[in-house]
């Protein structure tokens, strides 16, 4: 460089236009070159593409492979959050649910456990969708369980295949798997039919056992049913506890494995014989909807109609002609269905009145009407269990529940429980619903009628048992008899059945299974006696459950409880009819199909006939047995003899009538060992699924709860401070749950026509208060009269009188808007004074200081109410109920500042007519930031919400809600 510089200097003295060397001093010179000018010693520049000069440039090969990256899920991520659910396939269908649960519970906190069942056969598919609490747990599950076999202790002896565990965050894979299965099955079936048709055509007689009557069909598959119970989704996760190990599946193991191919093969075979049947059944199965989620709704849809048509209303006993209890039951049924219909016609929420000591006959409708005199009653209905009151307006029921549950009033000298029930028609609108509406409605109605009937049944049971309290003792005495009888009965049944078989000239009927079953039963009955005591012990202490469940609305859970218990007893009935469950199932699909294809009526009637036959068998069996134990039957009319009494005894021990008004813990899923075998459990759970749907609307069901916080430290106490969101709270705090309902109900509510209502009650209340206040007013009057003139005293007395006596009967209670709220306990007409806002009157400066102090102390709610520029009412420490009034964007009250004898008072006036039980609200608005309004509006409430901070969400839930307080 230096040399070059020197050279340039020597070559070109600075005489040129543009010096090639700029800058002075050593190392600071810059050598310039213009337009490729060359100097001596430099080579001539040839302009050319340097890339083409061979070998001079080595070009890196372009990158071809890119590294894969994965991002953790955070706020910026798109798409669904990391999956918390895993789909497990390749499970042995024989593995019991509890063991699966236990096994997969070791990976983390299971939120939901959904074993999939075959929609046609009800058999387990060996596919389970497990939702964990967090992604880590799911990941752990996938890492540790994928490709592994279930442990030796788990699952059947053969060990099963290797599990396949994949993430399935949104259940899409499950859906795809089910769809694939359905497709595959359809294909198989078609193929087989084609093949068999080809085979059948030349040699129809070659079929090993051509079965001429449908009855055979219906009976045969019944004992080939796979052990479904282990795979029925449990609605309430109590199965961890349920001691299914005590019956370590002796009955299950004995059962033939649920090889669906084997089960289906003969069936299809027969279908091909009966052309009409095959035509019908095949499309029905292929059109089986594949639902991956929303299992309850699906199940209820699928199996909904079945109980109503078979197992429930035509209960074996009720069918028997001339049976007294059957007739009575029918009457009651008709009464309750009438009630249901009437309530459905009403369309609004209604109220159910339960008497704490059973329903006394002495209560008349007038009493009930009087009890609800403050509300606009549409109709009063009763069935033998309870009274139902429907109202003319949509929110009356809610308000009535609020007011009347306080226990102040008695209905004809009985204390009652008032339960608000959701409107009849809107019940069971399943959120994740995929079937068309018409179908759904049909199913819903069926469901409801079932539930209603079940309630009726149970209530009948209870009343009868009130009379016969010592029935339990009797039962245990009868036990021995029953066991004897059962052995005999078992023999008889065996004898009976072949007889029938011959009568109908059935072929290929194997009674091996039923025989075995009977034997099992008879041996088990002995065991059951021991179990009875155990189970009573188990049931009486509350099962291990999170405590929050107990805080739920008692009446609602109570009704569900009733239903559940009833279902248990009903399930015992199903045991009898279970001889032909295939019939029932087919007819279910028939019913289902009928909605879709009404043209298949003829087929349907066929099947129903089959069903009747199947039923007849069971009733015949029973009549024989019934003859032997007449005493027993009178005591327990709908008890079945085919089964041990465990379930029955459970009912009694759990629901003594005196407890009906007290809170009962939720225990939806009974422990598995109540049931004798898998099928019982299966049907029981089906029934639970249906029974669960209607009561779910009023209160959130445990399994639909959002995931509760898992305490890392193991206890909530040691957890430190953490915030619980409203959504979480609403799961177990009634007032939060109410919020959603108020939002819904408030929207369509129209303002009632303005009318001035003065109830006798309010008059009386006023009179009472007037009398109370008279004394002190007199004193004040006297004092004032002494100090001032007569006129002043008169004026004051009126005003003061007004303020004191015009106060309304109010009550504070938890509010859906904010902590506490004030509720009207009497009707308040528009313009009437509601309450005075009382508190310390302080100067604004003091208020500012205090406000800061309160904030420091953590008093979150502001009770400062500004009277004028320099005075503020502080109701934080001293005050009256007025301080509890909440804000609403659609308030029913306004605050006015009136001057009484020179003193300014804040008085809350009703802006509209306030109905009984309505929460009193007024529109607070922050005027600190609206100085213009300061002098215009008489109300100045100083809610210090700094505008620059986060918006404070308004929770008033009114239709006009602005969303924020500031």
């Amino acid at each position: 460089m230096r040399a070059l510089l020197e050279k340039v200097r020597a070559e070109h003295p600075d005489t040129l236009d543009e010096p090639r060397i700029k800058g002075k001093g050593k190392g600071k010179e810059t050598l310039f070159r213009y337009a490729g000018e060359i100097i001596v010693g430099e080579g001539e520049i040839i302009i050319g593409d340097p890339r083409r000069a061979s070998g001079t440039i080595k070009r890196k090969p372009p990158r071809d492979a890119f590294y894969e990256v994965k991002y953790e899920y955070d706020d910026n991520s798109t798409g669904p959050p990391p999956p918390t659910a895993v789909l497990i396939t390749n499970l042995s269908p024989l593995t019991p649910n509890q063991q699966l649960r236990r096994h997969f519970g070791t990976f983390g906190n299971i939120i939901s456990f959904e074993p999939q069942i075959d929609m046609e056969t009800g058999g387990a598919l060996g596919i389970v969708l497990i939702k964990y609490h967090s992604n880590e747990e799911a990941k752990r599950c996938v890492e540790r369980a994928h490709g592994k076999k279930l442990g030796a202790g788990i699952g059947p002896a053969d060990g099963g295949e290797e599990l396949k565990v994949v993430f399935d965050g949104e259940g899409l894979k499950l859906k795809a798997v089910l769809k694939e299965l359905a497709d595959r099955k359809k294909r198989e079936r078609e193929e087989r039919r084609r093949k068999e048709k080809a085979a059948m055509a030349p040699t129809p007689a070659a079929t090993p056992k051509p079965i001429p009557t449908p009855l055979a069909q219906t009976l045969r598959p019944s004992h080939q049913l796979p052990p479904r119970p282990a795979h029925i989704p449990l609605m309430n996760d109590r199965s961890e506890k349920s001691p299914s190990d005590r019956h370590p599946l002796p009955s299950r193991v004995k059962r033939p494995p649920p090889v669906s191919e084997r089960a289906r093969a003969p069936t299809n075979h027969r279908f091909s014989v009966f052309n009409d049947l095959s035509q019908h059944t095949t499309p029905s199965s292929s059109s089986t909807p594949v639902h991956s989620r929303g299992r309850p709704s699906h199940l209820s849809h699928e199996y909904g109609p079945s109980p109503s048509s078979h197992s429930r209303s035509p209960s074996p006993i009720a069918r028997r002609p001339g049976h007294p209890s059957g007739r009575q039951q029918q009457q009651k049924q008709s009464a309750s269905t009438a009630v249901v219909e009437a309530l459905a016609r009403n369309g609004f929420e209604h109220v159910r009145v339960d008497f704490s000591g059973g329903t006394p006959e002495s209560v008349r409708e007038e009493d009930v009407r009087y009890f609800f005199r403050d509300f606009k009653i549409d109709m009063v209905l009763r069935d033998h269990g309870a009274w139902y009151v429907a109202f003319q307006t949509s929110d009356s029921a809610r308000r009535a529940g609020m007011v009347l549950n306080s226990g102040a009033r008695t209905l004809a000298h009985h204390s009652v429980t008032v339960t608000v029930c959701p409107p009849r028609l809107q019940v069971a609108v399943a959120p994740t619903d995929k079937t068309s509406w018409t179908e759904e409605e049909v199913v819903n109605q069926a469901e409801e009628s079932i539930v209603r009937e079940l309630k009726v049944l149970l209530e009948k049971d209870i009343t009868e048992r009130v009379i016969a309290v010592d029935i339990r003792k009797l039962v245990s005495d009868e036990k021995a008899k029953i066991t004897e009888m059962k052995v005999k009965a078992g023999v008889e049944v065996v004898e009976q059945k072949p007889a029938e078989k011959e009568k109908r000239s059935l072929k290929g009927l194997s009674f091996r299974k039923p025989n075995k079953r009977e034997r099992e039963v008879s041996t088990k009955v002995v065991e059951e006696d021991e179990h009875v005591e155990q189970e009573e012990e188990e049931e009486l202490p509350p099962p291990v459950e999170p405590p929050k469940k107990k805080r739920k609305k008692d009446p609602v859970t109570k009704t569900r409880k009733i239903v559940d218990e009833d279902l248990e007893s009903e399930d015992d009935d199903t045991l009898v009819t279970e001889v032909a469950p295939e019939v029932r199932k087919r007819s279910v699909s028939e019913d289902h199909d009928e909605d879709e294809k009404p043209s298949k009526k003829k087929l349907k009637s066929d099947v129903i006939i089959e069903d009747e036959r199947g039923k007849r068998i069971s009733t015949k069996q029973k009549s024989k047995k019934a003859a032997k134990s007449a005493v027993h039957e009178i005591a327990l009319p709908d008890m079945d003899f085919d089964i041990p009494e465990t379930a029955q005894i459970l009912v009694k021990s759990e629901s003594p009538p005196s407890r009906s008004a007290s809170p009962v813990q939720v225990s939806v899923a009974p422990p598995d060992d109540i049931f004798q075998d898998d099928e019982d459990v299966y049907f029981a759970k089906l029934a639970f699924l249906q029974a669960d749907v209607p009561p779910r609307i009023p209160s959130p069901v445990p399994d639909s709860l959002p995931a509760f916080r898992k305490h890392i430290t193991g206890s909530a106490r040691t957890e430190g401070y953490y915030k619980i969101s409203h959504a979480e709270k609403s799961a177990y705090v009634a007032q939060y749950a109410l919020r959603s309902t108020t939002v819904e109900s408030s929207a369509p509510t129209e303002p009632p026509p303005p009318q001035h209502v003065t109830s006798s009650r309010s008059n009386r209340a006023n009179a009472r208060r007037r009398a109370q206040g008279l004394e002190e007013i007199n004193q004040v009057q006297r004092a004032v009269a002494l100090s001032k003139g007569e006129t002043a005293a008169a004026e004051l007395s009126i005003k003061f009188n007004q303020l004191q006596t015009r106060k309304k009967h109010l009550r504070f209670a938890r509010s859906p808007i904010h902590d506490w709220g004030l509720y009207a306990m009497e009707r308040i007409a528009r313009g009437e004074m509601v309450i005075e806002y009382v508190g310390e009157i302080i100067r604004a400066q003091v208020a500012d200081k205090r406000e800061k102090a309160y904030e420091r102390q953590g008093i979150g709610s502001s009770y400062l109410f500004r009277i004028d520029e320099d005075l503020v009412v502080d109701a934080t420490k001293k005050g009256n109920l007025g301080r509890l009034i909440n804000h609403s964007c659609d308030p029913n009250c306004t605050a006015k500042i009136i001057t009484i004898n020179g003193e300014k008072k804040i008085v809350i006036y009703a802006k509209i007519d306030i109905e009984l039980g309505d929460e009193i609200t007024y529109g607070k608005f922050s005027l600190r930031y609206h100085p213009v309004h300061f002098f215009i509006s008489p109300v100045i409430l100083d809610y210090h919400f700094p505008i620059e901070q986060d918006k404070i969400p308004c929770l008033c839930g009114s239709a006009k809600c602005r969303g924020y307080l500031n």
């Binding site: 810059t30 990158r63 890119f66 798109t78 994949v166 894979k173 798997v177 595959r184």
Partner: protein, 401 residues
């Protein structure tokens, strides 16, 4: 979406080859809504840009290893993100000078960037200690193109003052100066021995030998699109806003502010292809009227090669991301014929992207991820999750066997 069961960190990172299927499955994995500070509410006295809409990210740059991406936005901030974890690492402010066209040097903590305020100095900035290391003074007007040599510490800038300056990071004064008749856009070949200068208004692309750029360019390409004459007469001139060589050096991508980009043969200068199917970024918003003369607009960073030269990814004014397949470009030989219309290539995929314009679209040089930016920043990853039905079949196949 499920990661493979053995996916534990980056240690066992598998590699992907870009394919049509993969490119079509690109999905935004991260969207940074707050990647640009919103404009402060206008104060009564100041009259701000009217109807400009939200502020944008104007340029993005990857470091050499593709681990980090740096955004420069109209809120006068640099924001550094990790491409590996998808996390925002750092925000640096340059309120005094403004930032545009940040380019990583070969060290992943230093960048050079153009200024938008004060003067048109190019600044050499150290990210880790947030200090300026060097100012490169010389340009008299706004710098519109800035490229770092792929092989050494040299870099090159084109400015509205109609000059191209060549710099060295070690020297504050420019190493070379090229006077041009119009606004130049510059690009280095991947070997660093050749650079291209696009001269707007003349529709010429000049290729220089890095060593002898003060002589005449060794190749002058005229970019003339005969198909434009079919649209309007006289044809709307092409306004070139970006220029980039493909990594294999064969092609030259000319990004324009209009509704088409062009692919040139980098050796012969044939016009090979016209990339269509997007809306040019000549305007700032879709509802803004088009000017009569073509302008730069918000164009400049919206189109780029994938590092394997197989695809071109480009943004659009309507926020979509277009992916053009470059694997079967036509070959032309023989003398240049400006009348031969280019092959029109429609995008392989036109993916829904940003709500506003997609101003910056760049594919990571090493990782299988793409970054796009407009009013928000998005990281795109190929969606690896297999089809649910296929998974189902897979699950059941093993089961039945």
């Amino acid at each position: 979406m499920p990661p493979p069961p053995n996916a534990n960190g980056n240690s066992s990172a598998s590699t992907l080859q870009l394919s049509n299927g993969l490119m079509q499955k690109l999905k935004p994995a991260k969207i940074y809504k707050g990647a640009v500070e919103p404009q402060p509410p206008p104060t009564p006295g100041s009259h701000s840009r009217s109807n400009a809409g939200p502020r944008h990210i104007t340029a993005i740059a990857f470091d050499d290893r593709g681990d980090q991406v740096l955004t420069a936005s109209e809120d006068e901030t640099f924001r550094l993100y990790s491409c590996k974890t998808g996390k925002h690492l750092k925000t640096l402010y340059s309120k005094k000078y403004g930032v545009d066209l940040p380019r990583f040097t070969h060290k992943n903590t230093t960048v050079v960037h153009a200024s938008t305020k004060e003067d048109d100095t190019i600044r050499y900035h150290s990210l880790h200690d947030n200090k300026y290391l060097q100012y490169f003074k010389g340009h008299k007007q706004r710098v519109v193109s800035l490229e770092v040599s792929p092989t050494d510490d040299g870099f090159m800038s084109g400015s509205l003052d109609k000059t191209v300056r060549l710099w060295d990071l070690r020297v504050p004064t420019c190493r070379g100066l090229l006077n041009l008749p119009s606004t130049p856009i510059v690009a280095y070949d991947t070997t660093g021995v050749v650079f291209a200068v696009a001269v707007n208004n003349y529709s010429r692309v000049l290729l220089y030998d890095q060593a002898n750029f003060d002589k005449a360019p060794f190749l002058t390409i005229t970019l003339e699109d005969p198909t434009l004459a079919l649209v309007s007469y006289p044809p709307r001139p092409i306004y070139m806003t970006s220029l980039s060589f493909s990594s294999n050096g064969k092609y030259l991508l000319v990004g324009c502010s209009g509704d088409a980009h062009y692919i040139l043969d980098a050796f012969e200068g044939h016009l090979l292809a016209k990339l269509e199917g997007h809306v040019g970024l000549e305007r700032r918003r879709l509802d803004a009227p088009q000017s009569i003369d073509p302008v730069k607009g918000s164009s400049g960073e919206e189109v780029s090669w994938t590092p394997d030269s197989k695809y071109v990814v480009g943004g659009s004014l309507n926020g979509r991301i277009a992916i053009w397949d470059m694997q079967n470009l036509p070959t032309r030989s023989g003398p240049l014929d400006l009348k031969v219309p280019p092959t029109r290539i429609q995008p392989l995929a036109n993916i829904d992207g940003h709500p506003g314009p997609a101003r910056c679209v760049r594919f990571n040089p090493r990782l299988a991820m793409m970054v796009t930016a407009g009013a928000e920043l998005a990281f795109w990853l190929p969606d690896q999750s297999a089809d649910n039905e296929e998974i189902a079949k897979e699950l059941l196949r093993k089961k039945s066997s």
